[in-house]
């Protein structure tokens, strides 16, 4: 059998090319996603400012696993003040230094100076962790109003020791005397420029309350870093130690978050991709097997048992797949890198994020592809094994359009299931329902694929009359072909339907979400003025000043934003998920923010309470009076009671907590917006102008800022589905080429019967047009129920917002692919002389 399989593959290279390509591309894509998943777990950035520390001690920056991935906490988990001493006492520690960082804006002439890199302030002791050295003629900052600047900052500003400069945090500026200029060894590649204050001053500005972001450790001579790390972890509770490149995880908080997001996005995409790859490989295999119907019938006639036919197909498939999978893994790494770049471009990853490159993604892709191929072979072999040798040997190679009862039943079941899942938001409110509805597209497409020939036969029948009226001669042949070969048509149409449906659902649930969120923000902000910070946020001192200046007839509502983790039970299983949170005080809220309260009273929001969005409330199953388990951004658990449920969660965040409570558990403690209801606009503008980096605007301008963030988010998920789309597009082209190329003989026959080349091409164009129209219509129909479901779940309205540009893009791309992929191989097939083509032996 192996022998026959090998020879068959060698002898029919062209026939196997399509299936080979399908597996190869699946391998490419799975490897690429694997690289991203692995990078989500291990990638990052080697330390820069901590390069001189052997061990870096940080807080427990992630929540332990509940389902599949550690949840990385969004705010810095700081270490208590005494940890530095505790670490210093561990044997083998030469020096232990606490570090705290705060983003600062350097102010020149009353405005924020444009510098090549963002600037972070630190305590002077932390300078040894790099280590920074002071240039001649300067010294360390000794007083609270002294600062040492890194070389590039000093030279950009043109200042040196003894000059005075201003630094602002959250718009609150103070002036400092430059005590000296410092530089790091090797100059080097750094994402931030550092400025050094006294330890105490740095802690105050960061709002650290004596706590530390991290403790850097220099090991005594001859002590290995990893040993020391282990001993520190044993001796000091509630800390995590990091050595080598992992020190970067502590230094760059955003890298940890990016890793988490990358892993999540890549994993969820990998799930869909594996499913789709399986589908594509199975259908391509089935197609290439179907084209060899007569061959299998002959084998059966001369004495091959069913089992032998199955084994032959299985062996062929495995031989093909193993080569294709291995060949695909290599370019897969390159595609992974390209996708990583694209993620960085869309803002999901920091630009300097380094991907982890190991052998694992490639191996996983190969194993997955082989499993998929095994399955594909098994499915594809069922038909030839069941062939009646006599029937199949009949003159015509056209297959009866009969579908197995099992296939029809499975297809119908999937359709029913798909509709049910699409309607899930009606039954199961919250994120589960929405996620389920989005998944409905896949079920429906596969259902349609299984019922394909039936559905398409019906569709082609509907189109037959108008097509014939439009194009009497070619239309007649084309529709006759489509009807007689509904299976071939189905093979061509199903991948397009899948592509159109999946892309539509992805694209339009994003646009529905964005539109709903935008609308909510516009409707929700009733404030007359808004003050925002261009650099990090707005300090509490600014709010105080606004209150003082505007007096009692204005309401000033500072809003702090963070993310919190909520633990709840999802269909009986414990789950934890990150939700956007805002902190605000309810006093006078009616003049600044309308969250559209549905239940309870937002006025009751105070210590120990929380307000939830409609979606969040439904997801957690928590109504007014219930308690929810929340972990704040820095890991602090709370259990507040729900006092209100509101409607505008998409625009403002799903969880609303008291302002001071939430602010105390963010890294910077700064507000992102200060909303002002009433008051004199000149006064507002005056206050803003007095604070470098702050901007006063109206509520309408706020919307723009919010939607920019959302579009960054949706563009990165677009990048993700783009890869999937490319795969689908290739498989669409693949099947169309395969189904057209197999018709060489038929074309030859037509030409011998007197049809000119252009007649045949015209007939193919009509066929392609029918294929394109049918697939787009069916694909959009398949996408509709899930989209309505998603829309209902997210916005309570059954009308998804569909962007005309997106729709146009989908239609145009599909049409272009469809016409090219049938036209080009048809032309190639027609290039042969008909007499030669007709003689082509089976």
């Amino acid at each position: 059998m192996r022998d026959i399989a090998r020879k068959t593959i060698k002898g029919r290279k062209a026939g196997f090319a399509g299936a080979f390509l399908a597996v190869l591309l699946a391998s490419v894509l799975i490897t690429a996603l694997g690289v991203l998943v692995e990078s989500g777990l291990r990638g990052g950035l080697p330390p820069q400012r901590y390069a001189g520390a052997d061990v870096v001690v940080g807080g427990v920056q992630a929540l332990p696993v509940v389902e599949d991935a550690d949840l990385s906490l969004p705010e810095r988990v700081r270490l208590p003040a005494d940890v530095v001493d505790a670490v210093a006492e561990v044997p083998g520690v030469a020096e232990a230094v606490g570090d705290v960082g705060v983003p600062v804006s350097v102010v020149a002439d009353g405005a924020v100076a444009e510098l090549p890199r963002p600037v972070t302030g630190h305590g002077w002791s932390a300078a040894t962790l790099t280590p920074f050295t002071v240039a001649d003629g300067g010294g360390a900052p000794g007083r609270a109003d002294e600062v040492a600047l890194e070389e590039d900052v000093a030279s950009s500003l043109g200042v040196g020791a003894g000059d005075r400069i201003e630094l602002a945090v959250g718009g609150v500026a103070s002036s400092y005397t430059v005590s000296g200029v410092v530089s790091r060894p090797g100059g080097g590649d750094a994402r931030d420029s550092a400025v050094f204050l006294t330890d105490e001053r740095a802690g105050d500005l960061a709002g650290a309350d004596g706590r530390w972001d991290a403790v850097g450790v220099v090991a005594a001579d001859g002590v290995a870093a990893t040993d020391l790390a282990r001993r520190i972890a044993d001796a000091v509770p509630e800390v995590r130690t990091h050595t080598g490149d992992a020190r970067g995880h502590v230094e760059f908080l955003d890298i940890g978050r990016a890793r988490g997001e990358l892993a999540l996005m890549a994993l969820s995409l990998a799930g869909t991709t594996v499913l789709i790859a399986m589908f594509v490989v199975v259908s391509t295999m089935a197609l290439s097997i179907r084209q060899r119907r007569r061959e299998f019938a002959l084998l059966r006639a001369v004495g091959a048992k069913r089992r032998q036919v199955r084994r032959l197909v299985g062996t062929e498939v495995m031989m093909l797949a193993s080569t294709a999978a291995v060949l695909g893994a290599v370019p897969g790494y390159l595609v992974g890198i390209a996708m990583g770049r694209a993620f960085a471009g869309s803002g999901l990853l920091p630009a300097d994020f380094r991907l982890a490159m190991g052998p694992l993604p490639g191996l996983a892709a190969i194993v997955l592809c082989l499993l998929t191929a095994r399955l594909a072979g098994w499915v594809a072999a069922r038909r030839p094994a069941r062939l009646n040798p006599v029937e199949a040997l009949g003159e015509s190679a056209v297959e009866p359009a009969r579908l197995g009862a099992g296939r029809i039943r499975t297809g119908a079941l999937l359709l029913v299931l798909g509709f049910f899942v699409s309607g899930l938001p009606l039954l199961v409110p919250g994120t589960v329902g929405v996620a389920g509805a989005a998944g409905g597209a896949l079920l429906l497409s596969i259902g349609v694929a299984l019922l394909g020939p039936k559905v398409l036969g019906a569709a082609a029948g509907l189109l037959a009359a108008p097509v014939r009226r439009l194009s009497p001669s070619h239309g007649y042949l084309a529709t006759a072909n489509l009807r007689a070969n509904s299976r071939r048509l189905a093979a061509a149409v199903t991948p397009i339907v899948l592509a159109v449906a999946v892309v539509s659902v992805q694209l339009f649930s994003q646009s529905t979400l964005a539109a709903a969120a935008g609308r909510q923000t516009v409707d929700g902000v009733v404030a007359d003025h808004v003050v925002t910070g261009t650099d990090g946020g707005v300090g509490a001192a600014v709010t105080d000043e606004l209150r003082r200046e505007l007096g009692d007839d204005a309401t000033v509502t500072p809003v702090v934003h963070s993310q919190v983790v909520v633990r709840y039970s999802e269909l009986g299983d414990p789950a934890q998920e990150m939700f956007a949170a805002q902190g605000l005080d309810p006093a006078g809220l009616g003049r600044t923010l309308d969250l559209e309260v549905r239940d309870g009273d937002l006025g009751d929001l105070g210590e120990g309470t929380v307000a939830l969005s409609r979606t969040a409330s439904a997801t957690f199953g928590a109504s007014v009076g219930d308690t929810v388990e929340i972990v704040l951004g820095d890991g602090t658990p709370i259990e507040p009671t729900v006092v209100a449920v509101y409607g505008r969660g998409l625009g403002f965040g799903d969880v609303t907590l008291p302002h001071d409570q939430l602010a105390a558990h963010t890294t910077s403690g700064l507000d992102s917006w200060v909303l002002i209801g009433g008051g004199d606009s000149a006064a507002v503008a005056r206050v803003a102008a007095g604070h470098p980096g702050l901007v006063a605007a109206t509520g309408a301008d706020l919307t723009a800022a919010g939607s920019a963030e959302r579009s960054a988010e949706s563009s990165s998920s677009l990048v993700a589905i783009l890869a999937l789309l490319a795969y689908l597009a290739v498989s669409v082209v693949n099947t169309l080429v395969m189904t057209t190329a197999e018709r060489t003989r038929e074309f030859a026959l037509l030409r011998l019967a007197g049809a000119a080349r252009r007649h045949v091409l015209a007939m193919m164009r009509v066929e392609a047009a029918v294929i394109v129209v049918v697939s787009i219509v069916v694909g959009l129909l398949v996408a509709l129920p899930p989209l309505v479901g998603v829309s209902l779940g997210l916005t309570e309205s059954p009308l998804p917002s569909i962007s005309p540009a997106g729709l146009g893009g989908i239609v145009l791309t599909t049409a272009l692919l469809g016409f090219l992929a049938t036209g080009v191989p048809a032309r190639a097939a027609l290039r042969q002389r008909p007499v030669d083509a007709i003689g082509l032996r089976e």
């Binding site: 026959i4 002898g11 001369v302 032996r841």
Partner: protein
């Protein structure tokens, strides 16, 4: 008549019905016949009279709707698909009118295919001898696409013979060939019967081809309507004209 030896193939009241409802076609009606071991039988009749159906049922390629088919001592109608496949593989050779060969395999591989499927040891000398006997000894390494139609048909015969089957069935083996190559194929079939005592059953439209047989069966409208022993081309042609007139 060959009454001395037990029949190689015996059909008893074989009826074959295709389809159901208004598409129902009765291709064979109660056909009963004994085909003696070591004889060459030709099956003739107008187009659509059920010749191919007869051959398929007799060769175990298809199952009759009712009636029994025996190959030697084996009753075929009761066999499982696997057992029937084994019978086809080991005891029956079949030659179709066209599309007989796997295009990606060489002549040698095509000929030895039934042996491979049976997992029998492949004796290269035996394959060569079988190929030699059909006059293709020099073409063992060629692919079907590199052979003429007559040569392809002879490869198919070689494959049918390679397992030394009890019976060889051929459906219009010369239908696509010119007179000269057709004659070579017919002589080959004749020699199988004469030299190794195997049983050959052949469907044909050509009275000259039928004259190579020991006996001709006439089918019309699914019924066995006549038998002619020691046929000549003239007698057969005459009979056929009558059949057509009926």
């Amino acid at each position: 008549m060959h009454t001395m030896t037990a029949p190689a193939v015996r059909l008893d009241a074989v009826t074959k019905i295709y389809g159901s409802g208004e598409n129902r076609v009765t291709a064979l009606r109660e056909v009963g016949v004994d085909l003696a071991t070591g004889t060459f039988t030709a099956v003739m009749g107008p187009s659509g009279s059920g010749k191919s159906t007869f051959l398929h049922c007799a060769a175990g390629l298809d199952r009759p709707t009712s009636g029994s088919v025996r190959l030697g001592d084996t009753e075929l109608s009761g066999l499982s698909d696997n057992a029937l496949t084994e019978v086809r593989r080991d005891r029956i050779g079949f030659v179709f009118q066209a599309y007989n060969l796997l295009s990606s395999l060489t002549v040698e591989d095509n000929v030895s295919l039934p042996l491979r499927l049976a997992r029998r040891k492949i004796d290269a000398r035996w394959i060569a001898r079988v190929a030699e006997s059909v006059g293709l000894g020099d073409h063992l390494d060629r692919r079907p696409a590199q052979l003429s139609g007559g040569q392809q048909q002879r490869v198919a015969i070689a494959r049918a013979l390679v397992t030394q089957p009890d019976a060889v069935f051929a459906d219009e083996p010369t239908g696509a060939l010119d007179t000269r190559t057709g004659r070579q194929v017919l002589e080959l079939l004749r020699s199988i019967v004469d030299d190794s005592g195997q049983t050959v059953v052949m469907v044909t439209h050509d009275p000259v081809a039928a004259s190579f047989a020991d006996r001709v069966l006439f089918l019309a409208d699914g019924r066995l309507t006549g038998v002619m022993d020691a046929p000549t081309a003239e007698l057969v042609a005459e009979r056929m004209t009558k059949l057509g007139a009926w």
